[in-house]
């Protein structure tokens, strides 16, 4: 009797689960940005708890992979740390909408023996260092912004990411904006031809090399620096203020850029105006087809995006992402209606 009861319960559960699945299960596959992965997986699992019939799978294969898989219809959504180029959009052959999800910042950090101060970097100093023009830590370009800090005459060892990454995209986008020479010689991309320096694989590789090498400078994203308690430097914004990267100063950059937000959200907000804006900040985006023929998928996509813009943003700060400023949220909500 005991067994019969147990089996009956199991059978009932299976039937209920199976029935529910058969009725309205929606499976959405997404792929792309590794930078957004921590918050995306949090969102998808929270959303699944609220709507058990909606299951969103995410593969953090990198922005380039996300764009490629979306273009070839392998996944339903893509996710990217850089907006798609006009060329990529026309190559896709169908309309793709950009939805900013959260923001991230990238900051310089360093290992100078005997210096514990929080250094201030002018855009010119950072571009000079990464172009190989500024080669010693006591260079006037660095020293003049840091009065009172005793900088040694040590050689600067430049460290960059060796793997293609959205972090590099944001970093090189900033350098391209502040240095014409960088723009013409190196440019903006997830991987570039570095004039100088050593490459570390991943944020952990860059951090490892900087910590190991006296005189080194590198860059990592805010989430990585905060969760690993890495001290980092301030960067001067266009208003002339040296700003430390924080969740607030990165959000401020987005608010500063929001006034001139283009309709398709494909915007770079590095070097954004505003006294409190951190200059090396960027959106990261979901890439969603404007036409989703499967009605259930379309409905689930719209509902998820609405949830993400309202409740979802509350999870951002806890994971060290900067939430979207309010004007951007309002503008995106209007855009959800464009998904047909």
């Amino acid at each position: 009797m005991r067994f019969t009861g147990t089996w009956r319960t199991i059978l009932a559960v299976l039937l209920v689960v199976g029935g529910a699945k058969a009725q309205s299960a929606v499976l959405i596959n997404a792929a792309g940005s590794t930078f957004g992965y921590p918050i995306y997986s949090k969102w998808f699992s929270e959303y699944h708890k609220l709507h058990p019939n909606v299951q969103i799978n995410y593969a953090s294969i990198g922005s380039g992979g996300g764009i490629a898989q979306l273009t070839s219809h392998t996944v339903d959504w893509g996710a990217s740390d850089g907006p798609m180029t006009d060329q990529q959009l026309s190559a896709a052959g169908f309309t793709i909408l950009h939805f900013p999800t959260v923001l991230g910042g990238v900051m310089p950090f360093y290992n100078i023996p005997g210096v514990n101060a929080e250094l201030k970097f002018t855009p010119k100093a950072l571009a000079g260092i990464y172009l190989g023009r500024v080669t010693r830590w006591n260079d006037p370009e660095i020293a003049s912004a840091n009065p009172g800090v005793n900088l040694p005459a040590t050689d600067i060892v430049v460290i960059h990411r060796s793997d293609g990454s959205g972090t590099t995209y944001i970093w090189t986008d900033f350098l391209s904006k502040v240095s014409p020479e960088w723009k013409s010689r190196v440019g903006t991309s997830t991987s570039v031809r570095w004039p100088v320096g050593l490459g570390g694989k991943g944020s952990e590789g860059v951090t490892g090399l900087v910590k190991q090498t006296p005189g080194a400078i590198g860059y990592v994203e805010l989430i990585y620096a905060l969760s690993n308690r890495i001290p980092y430097g301030d960067v001067q914004n266009p208003a002339g203020v040296f700003v430390k990267a924080t969740i607030e100063s990165v959000s401020a950059a987005a608010a500063g850029a929001a006034r001139n937000m283009p309709a398709d959200f494909r915007v770079s907000i590095t070097n954004a105006p505003g006294k409190s804006s951190y200059p090396i900040s960027s959106f990261t985006w979901f890439l969603i087809p404007a036409k989703i023929s499967d009605a259930a998928k379309r409905q689930a996509t719209k509902e998820f995006l609405t949830w993400m813009l309202m409740q979802g943003q509350a999870y951002a700060a806890g994971l060290a992402y900067a939430p979207l400023p309010h004007p951007v949220v309002l503008q995106e909500e209007k855009d959800i209606a464009r998904i047909q």
């Binding site: 990198g62 793997d163 990454s165 991309s189």
Partner: protein
Amino acid sequence: MSNAIQTAGSVAPSHEGPRAWLRRFVSGDEVAHIVTLLFASTILAITGLLVLQLWTNSRLSRVQSGWHFFFMQTWDPVFEHFGALPFLYGTVVTTVVALVISVPLGLGAAIYLAELAPRKISDVLAFLVDLLAAVPSVIYGLLGIFLVIPLMREVIEPFLKRTMGFLPIFQGPAYGIGLLTGGLVLAIMIVPFIVSISREVLLVVPREQREAAMSLGATRWEATWHVVVPYARGGIFGSIFLAMARALGETMAVTMVIGNDPRIAASLFSPGYTIAAVIANEFSEATYPLYINALVELGLVLFLLTFVLNGLARLLILATEQRGVAHS
């Protein structure tokens, strides 16, 4: 039943043929033949598919760069210039450094384990060596970052500069990151392969070989070096090939310590880049078709390089074997 056999017999030209075949089939000979043949042909199929995939998916890059791909030194995804030379250089140099360090070390260890060590010690050490061969390469990479890089920067590279700094390969700033460190970490990784396989082949050299040499008055070492090792030469070379192939294709451990900079510099202290490392690093974020095609073509180049180096090594064996015959 008997009808069926008769029919089958009358169709075949020989009465014995099909029956004998059927008997062999039932007893397992033919089954084993077909099944093992099938398994063996998968190797050919996989190799063929691999080359085909690499060939078709690198079309854009092959058409655009042609033979220049092998000689161009620039790798610039922003301005769409793709050349393989710095990666070829880095791959060959790290592999050569790895072999120069690991072959004497591995062979020496194998000789000790097979010929000189007490059986118990030999078995325990051989077990440890096999364990080392199974360690994932990322662990060797971490070992490289936390142990080898500081050691190179603080001790080994300054020492090499002081003692052999007149050589161009030991000049320039020493960060502890670069081709030499990449080669050293590779050497640590491939030594277990050489030791493990060489020890096995040395152990199966017939006792008579050794006894004959010693009865002619050879010392134990003379018997080992002049008789046992040459006898096992084929297997030892096999172990070195396997180690070389592993070094050529290693990705993770190398990329963590080599500096990942596509640059051709004479100094072993300078950073470099290998083919496998750049493919692993850039493939996921390669955003346009030509870029992806260029990375796939690098894969094709690595395949070619492995092929050529293996061929050269085999020629080397042939040459030494003929010389050995001439001597005797």
